[in-house]
């Protein structure tokens, strides 16, 4: 019987690992991720996960190393981290992706130091966008649970074999208690059968030499030529490109089996069909925007929301379709590409550059370092963008706009200039 539990986002991720029957878990604690692995270690201790090895490590770098090694032995593995811990993993993340290991990892998003902060923003998750992992953002604890399961299924698909991140907001989801349906192990097993890995270094009949020094060119040899680095990376990019349809397929199958759908598995839309103005955001910012859409609709503005779920690979085709009727898109970023603009905003602009309909795009940065994002701030942003959509100078502005910065209180006064 499926069980309804009132649990935090971190525990939802841990329960997903339990349902998925992960075999090796290694992680190093960091706020706000710690409770995920604490819960998994409880499961291991109590015997609820009898076939799981919990590896105690001394750092995040070791955690991901242990997980990579275990994955190369053919195990289903899990780890999780946040912010500075995630940054410490960076080198090995590239290693995991380059080896095409189906690792699933959770990021409880948190602002990167300095200054030191334990609160949420999406900077850490976006900072690892180019390592080669797939990446999904979620809006609720149930979605965390479901997305971890779906990510395993996609990552382990022989057509994909790519590691995957599941990112949920630190505190806002990681420490927030919500009702989550935990599915039956047997039913999950039907959806997510035991891992059949492309790699198993314990299988001595099938000798591999994984990741030796790989020269720029091919290695020509009598037994058969081996690929150069370039071919490896070409194949990885193509794996990303062609995984989008598999993400969609898996999301559909998940929905049919468990009755829960998250849009089309790529993005979730809310009141978007007839919308002239669309909000584009991920995770907590997107869920907060849902109320904003309702409020603005009551005021007569035709507003809708596109909440991006699959961030890597970036679903360009889907987004072109999603924004094919919009006149104006307002992007709220809980992150900055320092020296450019909000990362999501920049990427959306890139995606829509060759689209038939090119809506105006206005980006705002909100809620860095856990600054509470209120509906009023988002409403203000949308209204401002609507008001000024016809002003060319605004459109050409290269300065990034932040909402909710308190400078007056720090003694900076505009009148003085």
């Amino acid at each position: 019987m499926p069980e309804r539990k009132v649990i935090t986002g971190n525990h939802a991720a841990a329960y997903a690992c339990k349902s998925a029957g992960v075999e090796v878990v290694a992680a190093y604690p960091i706020t706000p991720q710690s409770p995920v692995v604490e819960k998994i270690s409880e499961f291991v201790e109590s015997g609820e996960l009898p076939n799981t090895q919990f590896v105690c490590v001394e750092s995040e770098q070791s955690a991901i190393s242990a997980v990579i090694a275990a994955s190369q032995m053919g195990c289903r593995v899990f780890t999780a981290s946040s912010a500075n811990g995630l940054a410490y993993m960076y080198e090995l993340l590239c290693w995991a992706a380059g080896s095409r290991l189906p690792i699933v990892m959770c990021i409880a998003t948190r602002a990167l130091g300095a200054p030191w902060s334990v609160w949420t923003d999406h900077q850490d998750a976006f900072s690892v966008r180019d390592v080669g992992f797939m990446q999904q953002f979620v809006e609720s604890n149930q979605e965390t649970y479901d997305t971890v399961l779906m990510s395993y299924r996609v990552a382990e698909d022989p057509r994909v074999y790519l590691p995957a991140f599941v990112s949920y907001d630190g505190y806002i989801l990681s420490h927030t208690t919500m009702s989550v349906q935990i599915e039956d192990d047997d039913k999950v097993r039907e959806f997510l059968p035991p891992l059949k890995h492309h790699l198993n270094l314990t299988d001595f009949d099938n000798v591999h030499s994984v990741n030796p020094v790989t020269p720029p060119g091919l290695t020509i040899r009598p037994e058969g030529n081996t690929p150069g680095y370039y071919e490896f990376r070409y194949s990885m990019q193509k794996a990303h490109e062609y995984s989008i349809e598999i993400v969609e397929e898996v999301a559909k199958e998940f929905g049919e089996k468990f009755g829960r759908y998250y849009g089309n598995g790529i993005y979730k839309s809310y009141q978007a069909d007839d919308a002239e103005v669309l909000i584009f955001a991920v995770a907590s910012v997107a869920s907060e925007s849902r109320g904003v859409v309702d409020t603005l609709r009551n005021e007569g503005l035709k507003v809708g929301l596109i909440s991006l779920k699959l961030y890597r690979p970036f679903p360009i085709e889907h987004l072109r379709k999603a924004f094919s009727k919009a006149k104006l898109v307002v992007v709220f970023d809980r992150d900055v590409g320092y020296g450019v603009e909000g990362i999501l905003c920049a990427e959306l602009k890139t995606a829509l550059y060759a689209a038939e309909n090119r809506p105006k795009i206005r980006g705002f940065v909100v809620g860095l370092g856990g600054r509470d994002i209120t509906a009023d701030q988002l409403i203000g942003g949308v209204k401002l963008a609507v008001q000024e959509q016809e002003i060319p100078e605004v459109e050409k502005n290269t300065h990034v706009e932040f909402i909710g910065v308190h400078l007056e209180e720090l003694g900076f006064k505009k009148e003085e200039f």
Partner: protein, 196 residues
């Protein structure tokens, strides 16, 4: 959607109270959607903290802090003041852990009886009477307050609350004490006569 804010101090279990309440809300079958979270941060023992709880019969998408609450629950009188009163909706209720009576609180802080119902309960005394304390001999008041809430217009009864307490702590002597405290709090809570 019903919004509840708990005020307390680090270590008093305000966040746990919110969790138990959300479990009770689910158990009551009147509120299938819940969202409970602390004010987040580098929580320290003794520091004033907030916990937020939203319960609803519709999915909850709001993720920001609760600005104005339907129910404001104050576990420690020393954190109570205008900062609390200004965050209660009109028609909302204030539940305060104090030995004082609602009338005194109303007079002391100038609370408009037409807007806010004041409820007081001496949860600290109940805890000491039942010997319901933690290792540091501090009274446990976060479970008994749920008994007071069960008296409110929330569609959560004392049975749901006690079951949620059992779900949280498991069966045992200490859990029984918590339930006893909740029942006693429900009986002894003082509600001001002005009905809203």
């Amino acid at each position: 959607m019903i919004e509840i804010i708990f005020w307390g101090r680090g270590g008093m279990g305000a966040v746990t109270a919110g969790k138990i309440l959300s479990d009770a809300a689910i158990l009551s079958e009147n509120y299938p959607h819940v969202s409970t979270f602390p004010s987040f941060g580098t929580e320290r023992r003794g520091a004033p903290i907030l916990a937020f709880c939203r319960i609803s019969d519709e999915p909850i998408w709001v993720r920001s802090h609760i600005q104005k609450a339907d129910y404001a629950i104050v576990l420690d009188e020393t954190v109570f003041g205008d900062n609390v009163i200004t965050r209660i909706k009109d028609g909302g209720a204030l539940i305060l852990n104090t030995f004082k009576c609602p009338e005194d609180i109303r007079k002391e802080y100038g609370i408009d009886p037409a807007k806010i119902t004041v409820v007081t309960a001496d949860l600290t005394q109940i805890a000491f009477d039942l010997n319901l304390t933690n290792q540091e001999n501090q009274p446990i008041v976060n479970t008994s307050v749920l008994g007071v809430l069960a008296q409110s217009s929330l569609k959560i009864n004392i049975g749901d609350a006690t079951q949620a307490i059992i779900n949280m702590f498991g069966e045992g002597q200490k859990t029984d004490l918590n339930i006893k405290a909740a029942e006693q709090a429900a009986k002894t809570a003082q509600v001001d006569e002005v009905k809203v």
